[in-house]
Amino acid sequence: MAEQNIKQSKHVVEVEFNQQQAVILSRLQEDGKYGKTDAEIIRAALREFLRQTRI
């Protein structure tokens, strides 16, 4: 499913994280629920946020 979505991707957004924010990504990465890479985790978070806020 994640692979399929990436195939449909049309936009690349560059987001800046500092070293402390990156720790949060690393911890979520250890969790394993949201993806293997930083980009996958950020994208999963966006999708989940949009779903929760119904935007």
Partner: protein, 318 residues
């Protein structure tokens, strides 16, 4: 209600006075309204190191504007330790963390100037007179944790004082988490102000020795909170200055935490649909750029779903 040890101190504070008294680890300080409707200003210090004292803004950051039964009174941000647990506090005891403390100048407009009608009673001076017993000075007086002080505020940032709701016999019990010097005083502005309903009244102060139960409660807090803040000895400059004037050390190089902050760019691929939603977020104020909006959405999601609960904490009474 928790059971305490024997009462070892029982004094009355006549208007307008105060008292600095040690309240040791696991002991309970009780402040009683003798007649009711009397505002209490409260200062407190670590009995072993006066540079650690009650942190009004730190307590506010954990518990909001009105700490209540079950909340913790914290020491200053620089030490960040639970100082007292509020074991008992009636709803008629409205607490205040906004007013700081009253001082003589508040009454200048009423004519109470040194050259006219003299100094009006005020908490800054009463606290200073009280802590002098332990060698502390007026500069060591800090913002008060105010009890039975009914402040209100509005969305514009204004605040004001309204009628005192304290009743005769009301009492507050504070459990000391470490050895403290407690300084309860009768607020000095409540005769010409509404703070104490235009009349000073006495307060009764008691201290109860520790019991097995209070010891257990303190152990709970110690285990729960441990060391939350870097200690002064972990900083490069940690000795207490003796000289009062401030002079620059030209050779000083500060050691800031994680300095400099380093950033890296993470490319994130989004579908058309996701990208459109991101544009909507930008319109809602999530940031000026796509990256800012994406970071904002990420952290809003994170805070909502993953961020550990802050250390507010409530007392778990048996």
């Amino acid at each position: 209600m928790a059971s305490y040890g024997p009462k070892r101190e029982d004094i009355t504070l006549e208007p307008v006075s105060g008292k600095a008294l040690p309240v040791y680890r696991a002991e309970v300080l009780r402040i009683i309204q003798v007649e009711g409707e009397q505002c209490v200003d409260f200062n407190a210090f670590n009995l072993r190191d006066y540079k650690e004292y009650l942190g009004v803004s730190n307590t506010r950051s954990y518990h909001g504007f009105r700490p209540k039964k079950g909340d913790i009174v914290w020491s200053v941000h620089s030490r960040n330790r639970p100082m007292y647990a509020i074991l008992e506090m009636p709803e008629t005891c409205v607490t205040d963390l906004l007013g700081g403390r009253c001082k003589a100048a508040l009454h200048y407009g009423e004519g109470f100037t040194p050259d006219r009608y003299g100094t009006h009673t005020n908490c800054q001076d009463t606290l200073a007179a009280s802590i002098g017993e332990y060698g502390l000075t007026p500069d060591d007086v800090h913002d008060s944790f105010n009890m039975w002080m009914n402040t209100e505020w509005d969305s514009t940032g204004q605040y004001w004082i309204t009628q005192n709701t304290g009743r005769k016999g009301d009492y507050v019990d504070l459990l000391a988490i470490f050895d403290t010097l407690a300084v309860p005083i009768v607020c000095g502005s409540g005769d010409t102000g509404i703070t104490s309903n235009y009349a000073f009244k006495p307060l009764q102060i008691q201290v109860f020795e520790k019991s097995d139960e209070t010891e257990r409660l303190v152990s709970f807090y110690e285990a729960k909170y441990g060391d939350l803040q870097r200690r002064p000895e972990q900083f490069k400059v940690n000795g207490i200055k003796q000289e009062r004037g401030l002079r620059r050390d030209p050779n000083y190089v500060p050691e800031f935490v994680n300095f400099p902050i380093k950033k890296r760019r993470i490319p994130v691929e989004l579908t058309e649909e996701e990208y459109d939603a991101l544009q909507q977020l930008k319109e809602c104020g999530f940031g000026n750029t796509d990256g800012e909006a994406l970071r904002m959405a990420f952290f809003k999601w994170y805070h909502r779903n993953h961020r550990p609960i802050t250390l507010g904490g409530r007392v778990r009474l048996s």
